[in-house]
C-alpha cells in the first residue's frame, strides 16, 4: 500500500476535506483515506492553519515578544503556526494550500513593530485584550488579487527550492446559498465576485508555475451547492467527500499514488 504524507496549509476547507469533518460532536467525514484506501493508498495528513500569504512569507520563526508575553485565546491559529510555520521545513509527498485565506481573512498590523497578526475571534476576547488589540494594532486592508498571486508565486518557489512534491491549491466555490443579486451597479465587490476573480487568477498561476488546482468550484457545480455546501465557505460531509475524491484523482494523475 502506498503511504504518503500530505502537508495541508489551510483552514476549514482543507482540514474538513482531508483530515475530518466534525459537527455536533460527531465525525461526519473521516478524511481523504476514505477514498485513498480503495485506490491502494493511505495518507498521513499534517494540518496547519493559514492566515494569509503575506503573513506566511513574512514569518521568520520568531514570535514577537509583545505577543509571546500575552496569553491570547487564538484557538486554531496559535502563534507558532502564524510566526514559525512548518510548511517550508516539513517533508511531504504533497503540499496542499488554498486561496481561501487571501480571499477573506483580515489581518491587523502592529503599529510600532509592523508585523502582521491574525486576531482570531477577537470579539470574544476579554475586554482588556480587545482594548489592547485596538491600542497596538491597526486593521490591514483586504489583500489585492495581484499581491496574492505574487505571494503564491514566491510560496511555490520556496517549496520547489527544497522539494519536487506536487503542490495542490484549492480554489473556492463562488456559489453562495441564498445569493439573489441580479444587478451590480452601485454595489461594492461581492464576496462571490471576489472569489470568481481569485479562481481565474489561480488558473493563470497554475499555467505559470505548474501547480495543480483542486477545482472545488467545479466539484460543487457538478454536485450542487444545495447539497455540498452549508454556506459560502463550508462544505457538507457530502461536499467533503466530493472534494477529497478530486484530490485523490489529481494525486493519482500526478503519479503520487504509484508504488515507489
Amino acid at each position: 500500500m502506498q503511504r504518503l504524507t500530505i502537508f495541508a496549509k489551510g483552514n476549514l476547507d482543507l482540514r474538513d476535506t482531508l483530515h475530518s469533518l466534525k459537527l455536533g460532536g460527531g465525525v461526519r467525514w473521516n478524511g481523504i483515506n476514505e477514498v485513498l484506501r480503495p485506490l491502494g493508498g493511505v495518507a498521513r495528513v499534517r494540518h496547519e492553519t493559514f492566515t494569509r500569504s503575506d503573513a506566511l512569507l513574512a514569518a521568520d520563526g520568531t514570535i514577537p515578544a509583545v505577543l509571546a508575553e500575552r496569553p491570547l485565546p487564538l484557538g486554531a491559529y496559535p502563534l507558532a503556526s502564524q510566526f514559525a510555520p512548518a510548511l517550508f521545513e516539513a517533508e511531504a509527498d504533497a503540499y496542499a494550500l488554498s486561496i481561501q485565506p487571501d480571499v477573506n481573512v483580515y489581518l491587523v498590523r502592529h503599529r510600532r513593530e509592523g508585523f502582521l497578526f491574525y486576531a482570531n475571534e477577537w470579539t470574544d476576547w476579554p475586554a482588556a485584550d480587545q482594548a489592547w488589540l485596538r491600542a497596538h494594532f491597526t486593521p490591514e486592508p483586504p489583500l489585492s488579487l495581484q499581491a496574492s498571486m505574487a505571494n503564491f508565486v514566491r510560496i511555490v518557489e520556496r517549496l520547489r527550492a527544497r522539494s519536487a512534491a506536487p503542490i495542490l491549491i484549492y480554489n473556492l466555490s463562488s456559489v453562495a446559498p441564498g445569493d439573489q443579486v441580479h444587478a451590480y451597479a452601485g454595489l461594492d465587490e461581492t464576496l462571490s465576485t471576489r472569489i470568481r476573480r481569485f479562481n481565474l487568477a489561480l488558473v493563470e498561476l497554475s499555467q505559470q508555475t505548474d501547480v495543480s488546482i483542486i477545482d472545488v468550484d467545479a466539484v460543487v457545480a457538478r454536485g450542487g451547492a444545495d447539497r455540498l455546501k452549508y454556506d459560502l465557505l463550508h462544505l457538507t460531509a457530502e461536499g467533503c467527500r466530493a472534494v477529497a475524491e478530486e484530490v485523490a484523482r489529481v494525486l493519482a494523475d500526478l503519479g503520487a499514488l504509484d508504488p515507489a
Partner: protein
C-alpha cells in the same frame, strides 16, 4: 376589467436556451396571473440586434453570453469591449437589458486542454457579466448560479443546458430576474411582489417543477 397589456420580451439567445426561455415565460405568465387568467407574455426570438422591434419598446431585452463560448481564444478584453458597446446600444432602446450567464459545469470528457480552456472561458464570461452590470447597469440572469446551486449531476445537464428539468430551473431564474428588475413599467409592484412569492425561491424549485409537470400531465 380590462385585460393586462402583454409583456413582450425580445431575446437574443442561443438555441440551447430556448426551452428555458419558454419555460420562464410560462412561469412568469402563470404567477403574474395569480388566481385569474394567465398574464399574456410574448417572446420574440431574434437572430440579431437589428431585428429587435423597437416601437413600441419591449418590456425587456435578454441577451445571452452562450454563443461566446465558441470564441474560446478571444482575449476577454476584446469580448468585453464588444459587449460594452452592444449593451449600451441595446439599453438606448429603453427597457431593462439583462444578460444571461453560462452554466460553468463542463464535463471532463475529451481533450483535457480543451475542457480546461472552455471552463476558463466560461468563468471569464460570467465575471464579465457582473462587471458589465456594475459598469452599465444591465441586469444579470444568473443561470450559472442557479444551476450550480442544484448541480449538473442532479439536473442531468451541463453548459449546453439539455433536459426538461434544466429548462425549468433556467425558466425560474429568468422569471425571478424579470420580476426583480424589469417590469415596473408594466406591472404594479404589489402584483410583482405577490408573483415572486408564488414563484418561490430556488430552494423550493422542486415544488415548482412538480407542480408544472402535474399541470402538463393534466392537459
Amino acid at each position: 376589467m380590462t385585460a393586462p397589456a402583454p409583456i413582450r420580451i425580445e431575446a437574443l439567445i442561443a438555441p440551447a436556451e430556448r426551452p428555458g426561455l419558454i419555460a420562464g415565460a410560462q412561469q412568469l405568465s402563470a404567477v403574474l396571473g395569480g388566481e385569474g387568467p394567465a398574464w399574456p407574455v410574448q417572446l420574440a426570438l431574434r437572430g440579431s440586434d437589428a431585428a429587435i422591434q423597437r416601437d413600441p419598446p419591449p418590456a425587456a431585452i435578454i441577451a445571452s453570453l452562450l454563443p461566446e463560448t465558441a470564441a474560446v481564444r478571444e482575449p476577454i478584453a476584446e469580448t468585453k469591449a464588444r459587449w460594452s458597446a452592444r449593451l449600451e446600444a441595446l439599453s438606448a432602446i429603453g427597457p431593462q437589458v439583462l444578460v444571461c450567464t453560462i452554466f460553468r459545469h463542463v464535463p471532463a470528457a475529451g481533450d483535457p486542454a480543451q475542457v480546461q480552456a472552455l471552463r476558463e472561458r466560461i468563468g471569464r464570461l460570467n465575471l464579465m457579466a457582473v462587471e458589465l452590470s456594475f459598469e452599465l447597469g444591465v441586469g444579470v440572469i444568473d443561470i450559472d448560479r442557479a444551476l450550480a446551486h442544484v448541480g449538473g449531476r442532479t439536473l442531468g445537464c451541463d453548459w449546453r443546458l439539455a433536459g426538461e428539468t434544466a429548462a425549468e430551473v433556467v425558466g425560474h431564474t429568468i422569471a425571478w430576474s424579470l420580476l426583480s428588475l424589469g417590469l415596473d413599467e408594466m406591472v404594479e409592484p404589489a402584483i410583482q411582489d405577490r408573483a415572486r412569492r408564488d414563484l418561490g425561491d430556488l430552494h423550493n424549485i422542486d415544488v415548482l417543477i412538480r407542480r408544472r409537470q402535474a399541470s402538463r400531465a393534466g392537459d
